[in-house]
Amino acid sequence: MTGRGRPVAAPGTAAPTAPVPPGGGGRRALAGRVGSTQVIYLALAGVMLVGWVLVAFDGGDFLTLETVVGIQQRSAALGIVAVGQTLAILVGSLDLSVAYLISLTSLVAAEIMAGQDGGIVPGVAAVLAVSALIGLVNGLVITRLHVHAFIATLGTALIVKGVVDHLYDGPAGSVPESFQRLGYDRIGPVPVSALLWAAVAVAVWFLLRRTRLGYRIYAVGGDEEVARLSGVRTGRVVIAAHVLCSVCAGVAGLLLASRLGAGAPTVGTDGGYDLESIAAVVLGGTALAGGRGGVAGTVGGVLLLAVLDSVFNQLEVNAFFKDVVRGVVIVAAVAVYARRTARRRSR
């Protein structure tokens, strides 16, 4: 898969190099040597340190086994969605339909499993099929009908919301106990859900860094026209990215169904997985315009949000105040990157 005929461009070089703005060139060039992935992990370490100090002043202990497990468990669902969202954003698109898709797939899983162990395999297969299909629809609408991804996936989101709201008023179906182990079990200090997230992240990292499709995703996101002229079937790449993004959302739906023990029509929107996953991806240093960034940054971005959440929980901060701080942190973090990269070109 990786051998000959490595197409077009390697990750990182695919994006058009933006002009160096007058005045700030030297400093930025220096700062540019630290990759954005390192920055997010530095920020993560900083937040953990500040959190640890604050919690210690409050008379608590931040880095207990319990909190670490909690952070892993809380971040797994968002993490899986965000890894998928990374693919959509890298290709120069985005997916606003993931939240409703998560609700839908949690219901599909729980309805098909109906509490029976024998239903697990068909349930998982159905979820993967449904989510792949919706990703395919997103991709086709964007590439064949030339609808902007924002509107296309918003439209799909409304359709899925309509169907889910029409059919369900509340939780439905049930998940057998053996499947609930996915949400709650731990192997030593590591929750199974965190392992699932890690598996998805590694798979997508491998896809991006070691396969042809991965290189093409960077190429199309970097400059679609150049990619097309170099012989990449750009439409197919965009569709593949959307299918994979939706499948990740489906996996997150499975995880949430196993946590709840049932499907829930609002589980995706209550978690705010659509905007939150985009925020995590951008926090991780992936350019919203596509072509630059990667999974490692996204994992850091998700962990940063989770650590923040955990610190707030331990300090018993008001839920609304949490939102305020989260908003400020997201904007501030992205502002830090933006200062480091040269101004994006409008076109």
């Binding site: 009908l145 509107i151 439209g155 609304f320 939102d323 305020v324």
Partner: protein
Amino acid sequence: MRALRSMGPILAVLAVLLVLIAVANPFFLEPAGFLAFLKRAAPLVILAAGQYFVIVSGEFDLSVGSLVTVQVVVAARLIDGQEQATWPVLALLIVIGLLVGLANGVITTGLRVPSFITTLGMMLVLSGAVFLWTGGAPRGALSETFRMFGRKDLGPVPWSVLILLAAGTAAILLMRSDFGKRLIATGDNERAAGLSGVRVDRTRIAAFVLSGLAAAVAGILLGGFAGVSAQVGQGLEFQAITAVVLGGVALGGGRGSVVAAMAGAFTLEALFTLLNLYGISGALEFAVQGVIIIAAVAASAVRLPFRRALRV
């Protein structure tokens, strides 16, 4: 002439929807029925005009929905039923709208944060802050004078329709002025605009300020029309962006007219009205809405010379 041609599709869709509404409900053809439709549409049309300024300059404003909620919740708590508090609070609401827009603009241009993230953060901050302040649920009540703008009439014409006319005219005049040309140039090609002497950052900040102002006005109208609730602004940002795109305005900037954006908002509102008339209400309304939005945008993308504008 060129503007008219590019507006063709949306005006045709709007005309078809209006005819369908009139067939289902003849009352719609009477002045009172039509004015009621305009009154209901006014907040979304004004929001769409504000969002147009931002989108045509190449950015997004996702904070308008939560800004509308903030306006209504703040108004209810500060007025708390006292008539004499109405006018100062109205002035305060306008100032809040302008300040939020200014903050969005300055953060986006000065700190170079993509506006998607800036306004997403603003959305979190605004909704968090207002409920932190009120303790979780809206409190207080609006005064009669405040509610006048959203629901009362001046003679035969509702106040909100007059405000809509004023806002629409102002938006058209703005786009015909030098500012409008600079705005389109900025959205079309920021570098070229900058090199030809446009202060692109200031132009974009002005666009965000206009969007904040539009959200303030829409919030005042919606508060009067629909009353105080924590959900009043929910989803409005997506509706406004959809309306603008329905009007054929390119996401990514530089193309489309403000009249078409407002026509897009009327079309969306006509669609809601029609779905209600034909009894498709509740949940399925969303599904139908989704299909029609994709179809309408796809149709306009086929007709117009296509330009991929994915760069957010």
